[in-house]
Symmetry: C2
Subunit: 339 residues, 2 copies
């Protein structure tokens, strides 16, 4: 099969053996796979991120090649041994991006488990979720990033009267905005330097968009000093937490969603004098993944504007370059079998 | 009056004018005042801490001299204009360490408002709390540090079945342990390099004490990977948060109580993969201050072991040196009028 493999910090489209499903696994044909911001991070900072991740308990196979891709919609092709076969061959499925191996959960799209920048991949049967016929591949590819928003908003425990500030309007920021909107949060301020992304944020439900180069996004909250204030950090750059801590009002909650490589610093005394709470979030629960699928199936999320282009495996290298420019691309979807 | 003043990073005991109470204020005679860990920090890192504090909104009078001391018991001496005079001259009182000035609250024991390392100080009448006759000056001097523990445990929202790890067994660590014990928390592990402080932690109610030089304090929690796990950081040194994040189990809460000067760094990806929550805490509410006084009055806290020595104003400089050695001193109380 064909796959876009990361070799020496470059994408190489190469033929590799189609994997063979083991016990409890299915072989699945990739219909579509989104490019995630964390894929860009992993491509750029693989060594640093993976050694940190390994120290924190992620299982990594150092001999394995890196094939990214964890936002996929696939079709069941074949069943391994010890499977229940509750799907038919050809059924469209998605899945939380983990593969079971004994007691361990391997992260799909990392050196732990091959991802979906490829024609086929192995999935764990018990994690498969059917994709309703009415849901397009494009929309279903967004179940995974939207689930990150579902989880972040749930973990933030924002109350109905709370005010939200979303920093960074890439796909995760947009997912967070969409879920805050669904939750009925009345004040959703979104900040991004890119005019295109600010426009998308508005389409997703932001009530106010701010260009941080022009004005402080914190300003709009100053009238309500006693209300609950939650900042969703959807960028993942060093120095950003420090900036947020310096600018938030007292008692603010900061939800850290953006993936930031390396170490980062902030000013503890400022955090202390404001009694801020910093909540880190990672993935989502299987229930939240299903809630995300449900929200998309029910048409409760205006997902179309997210998708900025569709490519095949040969286009991955270019797409990674184009994604550096927030004016050009938002969510790029890979269709491994398109010409 | 006499006061121990910080001048050029030295303590100088000098005569200064006794302050005159303004509207809403009383003049109070200091009976006793504890030396707090934050006083040591402020003495060492005054410039750095004060510029950070000012940026975060603390009112600072740059022309004022620094007279520390915010853990005091005092006696009402005279009333300023516009006071209700609901106390008698000679009544023993304590107070949250703030002085009202218009809409602002000035922190007593900082350049904002003179502290109690002096014979007299000004207090805001409405903040005064009477000290019950049965409570000794020594015990009442601990109301303030114990209130920090009351607040930290309340903010942590630890549940009855939660497990606690207290890092650092100085006065604030001991206060936290005492309150966790009062709350009925069953597993209270305390870590400190000092044998004396580990002994005190045990007297306060720690169920297990650990010398971090010998073994990991996190080890004792490994059997219960799904239980709630709260770490109380009561040291305030750079690098400690990073170490805690690296070692806690997933979903841990980290409560930051120790005052740390300057910037500090940690590893965001590790925090993220573990979904840790970091809650910064600062002071306490007036209600929590009263709860602390109540706990001491009702004899629910074994406070005697905390007090390691009593001195007068001339002894402050030496005490600050002695407090560097955790084997020598824990809580030093200043009695400005003792010979």
């Amino acid at each position: 099969m064909k796959a876009a493999i990361v070799r020496d910090k470059q994408f190489v489209v190469d033929e590799i053996p189609t994997p063979v499903p083991g016990p409890g696994q299915v072989l699945a044909k990739v219909r579509i796979c989104g490019i995630c911001g964390s894929d860009l991070h992993l491509f750029k900072h693989a060594e640093e991120l993976l050694s940190t991740a390994e120290a924190a308990g992620m299982v990594i196979d150092k001999n394995s090649e890196l094939i990214l891709g964890h936002e996929f919609v696939a079709e069941v092709v074949a069943f391994g041994p010890d499977t229940e076969q509750r799907f038919n061959v050809g059924d469209r499925v998605c899945s939380i991006p983990f593969r079971k191996q004994g007691d361990q959960l391997l992260n799909i799209g990392t050196p732990a488990a091959q991802g979906a920048y490829a024609e086929y991949l192995l999935l764990t049967e018990e994690f498969l979720v059917p994709v309703p016929d009415a849901l397009s591949d494009e929309a279903a590819a967004l179940v995974e990033p939207l689930a990150v928003g579902v989880h972040a908003v749930a973990k933030s425990a924002i109350t109905d009267s709370g005010s939200a500030l979303v920093i960074g309007c890439g796909p995760i920021g947009l997912a967070t905005i969409a879920i805050l909107k669904m939750r009925g949060i009345e004040q959703i301020v979104a900040a991004d330097y890119s005019p295109r992304r600010r426009g998308l944020a508005q389409q997703m439900g932001a009530t106010l968009v701010v260009d941080p180069a022009e004005e402080s996004p914190y300003q709009s909250f100053s009238d309500e000093p006693n209300g609950e204030f939650v900042v969703y950090e959807c960028v993942g750059l060093p120095g950003l937490l420090k900036q947020i801590v310096d600018q938030v009002p007292k008692q603010a909650k900061i939800v850290m969603i953006g993936l930031c490589a390396g170490d980062d610093s902030y000013t503890p005394l400022t955090a202390m004098m404001k009694e801020v709470q910093i909540q880190f979030v990672y993935y989502y629960t299987p229930e939240e993944f299903s809630q995300s699928l449900e929200a998309l199936s029910e048409g409760r999320v205006n997902w179309e504007p997210w998708v900025s282009s569709k490519i095949n495996l040969d286009g991955v290298a270019n797409a990674f370059r184009a994604l550096q420019d927030p004016e050009r691309e938002v969510k790029v979807l890979i269709e491994p079998f398109s010409k």
